[in-house]
Symmetry: C2
Subunit: 308 residues, 2 copies
Amino acid sequence: MKCRKCGGVAVINMRHHRLALCADHFVEWFISYTQRAIERYRMFGSDDQLLVAVSGGKDSLALWDVLSRLGYRVDGMYVGLGIDGDDGYSAASQAKAEAFAEARGLTLHVVDVKQTYGESIPELAQMTRRGRKPCALCGLVKRHIMNRVAYEGGYDAIATGHNLDDEAAVLMQNTLRWQTGYLARQAPVLPSTHPRLARKVKPFVRLYERETAAYAIVRGIDYIYDECPHAVGSTTIFYKGLLNQLESRSLGAKLSFYLSFLQAKREGLFSEPGEALELNDCQRCGQPTTAPELCAFCRLWVRRIDKG
Amino acid sequence: MKCRKCGGVAVINMRHHRLALCADHFVEWFISYTQRAIERYRMFGSDDQLLVAVSGGKDSLALWDVLSRLGYRVDGMYVGLGIDGDDGYSAASQAKAEAFAEARGLTLHVVDVKQTYGESIPELAQMTRRGRKPCALCGLVKRHIMNRVAYEGGYDAIATGHNLDDEAAVLMQNTLRWQTGYLARQAPVLPSTHPRLARKVKPFVRLYERETAAYAIVRGIDYIYDECPHAVGSTTIFYKGLLNQLESRSLGAKLSFYLSFLQAKREGLFSEPGEALELNDCQRCGQPTTAPELCAFCRLWVRRIDKG
């Protein structure tokens, strides 16, 4: 297979784009494709100060790499969840994130949940979730910390490495139950609705997982290959499997599913404004919340203190 | 496994309803469940004259059986498509439909496409579709004939045997491309928009294919087991496979997908009225059409005459 640009040996064939490219031209294409998504969805400009949520995996490190190569002012943030299990998942992923930052002279903020708040995610989950998966809890904690770090550091937007496969799986999950509220909020950009809640952006929404992985490999990025041990058997992974079957049958099906959804939204689907939520300041941390006194994050810890 | 009603031997376990039933109680439940759907979606009343579109398969014969047992005034209509291939599919299915009607003293209208219009579906497809699947063409022809027979016979509604698996597969297909126009029109009842277009109703929309099959078997209905040979490898069958995987992972997923879609529609999703289509009378057959002169059905035959 030959590179369409130079005739050299192609390292990837993106059949949905009818585009095979060599390593150099793939990197060039990947960066430019990301920049076009940033512009198309008006994610941010060159004056914005960006914070990338870094897990140590291929997507977030590739994103940090691309954004810094594009010349954006971008720092990283790693949240230490204390998910260690047999593989030392958190310790290993933190090491990858730190090595990446150090080698490139980039700034990485590290917030360790246990050191900062007193308990790791598994410890917290054990007390509050009674053996259920800690994923919802983990998401809540990470969102809170990301918003706090972005606010305290004066960042304009938080960028996450969600790729097309991630977005399509969530879209399928929301669609199968017609959760119109979630569908209304699923987008490449979530605008800030409060001074303490940074804008969220996903520059990789149009890139297949296979493409972000190829970018990380071609660029020699050393990332953590394992999924979080709690993700095993997750609904998201199941939906990704269904979507892969669809893609095998119909080339470009994932991209078409996601892009036609965005198109339908632009044409007014799900545009029902709903009632604007009334936001209060959490009495403990100051972040906005729909609850009257404490936000969901602070309620977690206060419950713990009560029980302790 | 025991029947929940009488403790006898259950013939079916509907796990999504947590309901196992013996043959007699399953038949009783199935009929009553259908009647509840007829009422819930306001499909028709006891004064209406109904026409069931009968293919000779389990769904349409089960529907005819149920509607006549419920005391509705219901005749059948069979369209002879001339799809014979190796298995004599059309001839065999017509025989099943005729035997069913005769044994029960029911009235069956038979319209043979080749005898009435000059060519069978495969012949017509060969000329107009150049080897492509004739399914779209076949749908167009059947809709035309159903509307004609219903209009000429003074029927109030056309009932079809579409079950939940059929509807969920179409819903998935439309959703994966966010075809909002099709989604807006997908419903258990399609009201009549013109005196020559009968209301369309689908009393089995909430019944799994497995349940309609069980009903046909338990009631001793002799139906044609084979699918239409053109359906092999179809997109619908592929989506049914995906939905079966979903159902295996999450009990009731198909029903929830379809019912939450209807719920979202009731809450206003897809309610964008769009422009009312201007309908003209076809100059050849009189059926309403959005085209200025001939409807799509008549254009098929006029093209043929021109070519011939």
